[in-house]
Amino acid sequence: MSVKPFDNLKNNKYYKMWFKDAFPYITGAVLLSVFQIFTLASTGNPWGVSGPLANWGAWIYEAFGGSVDKWYYFSSEGARATLENGFLNDGGSIRNIGIIAGALLATLMASQFKIKKIKNKKQVAAAILGGLLMGYGARIGFGCNIGALYSGIASFSLSGWVYAAFLFIGAYFGSRLLVKFFM
C-alpha cells in the first residue's frame, strides 16, 4: 500500500488549525481590526473596497477609448490624480488585488478550490442585477459595507450606524425576494 505524501499533512493539528478549518469569528474580527488600524495609520485613509472598483471601471472604460473627464464622480482633484497615476500607484487597488489573491491562496491551502457550476439563468440574472445595485448604491452611499459601515463606525461616524440600520431593512426585504424567487 502506498502512502500519499500529503496524507500526514492533512491530519496535522496545526495544518487544520491554520489552513483547513475556518477561524473563529472572534479571531477574524481581531485580525480585521488590527489590519484596518494599520491601513488607516499607513495610508491616512480608512479601509474601503468599492471605491477602487469604481476606478477600475474608469480605467477599463478609458482602455476602450472612453473618457470620464466630464463625469461628476471623477471631477475632484484627488479622483483625477488617482486615475492619472494609474493602477499600480493606487494603494486601494493593490489592496483589492491582495484580497482576491489572498482568498484564492486560502482556499488552495485548505484544498477547497472548486469552480462552481451555474445552476440556472436566474442565478446569472440575480448576480448581474445584484452587482449593479450594490455598486450603484455603494457609490451614491459614500461607500460599501466596508468603507461606509465598518470604517464609518470605527471612525465614530453616525453615518455608519445609519448605514447599519438600513442594511438590516435591506437584508429583510432582500431575503423575502430571495425566498420568493429562488426557493
Binding site: S111, Q112, K114, K116, K117, L178, V179, F182, M183
Partner: protein, 75 residues
C-alpha cells in the same frame, strides 16, 4: 427510515440553509437529510442551524470544496 438528498451544489448562502429548513419539515423522525453543498459558509451555518434544532449532524468532505451534511431528524 428514509434518506433524502438535497442538491445545493452551486447555491450560495443563504439558499442552502433555507432549502434545508424547508426540506426537513416533510421528513419523519428518524429520517436522514443529506445536504450537498459547495459553499464554505453553508458548511458552517447549515450544521450550526441543525445542531441548534437538536438534530444529529455529521459533515463529510466528499471532494475539494464539496461537502455532504448528514442531518438526522431526531424529533
Amino acid at each position: 427510515m428514509k434518506e433524502v438528498i438535497l442538491d445545493c451544489l452551486g447555491e450560495a448562502c443563504p439558499v442552502p440553509i433555507v432549502k434545508s429548513e424547508k426540506a426537513i419539515i416533510d421528513l419523519e423522525v428518524g429520517d436522514l437529510l443529506i445536504v450537498q453543498i459547495d459553499h464554505s459558509c453553508a458548511m458552517k451555518n447549515v450544521p450550526e442551524w441543525a445542531r441548534a434544532q437538536g438534530y444529529n449532524v455529521e459533515i463529510e468532505e466528499v471532494d475539494d470544496g464539496e461537502w455532504e451534511v448528514f442531518i438526522e431528524k431526531t424529533k
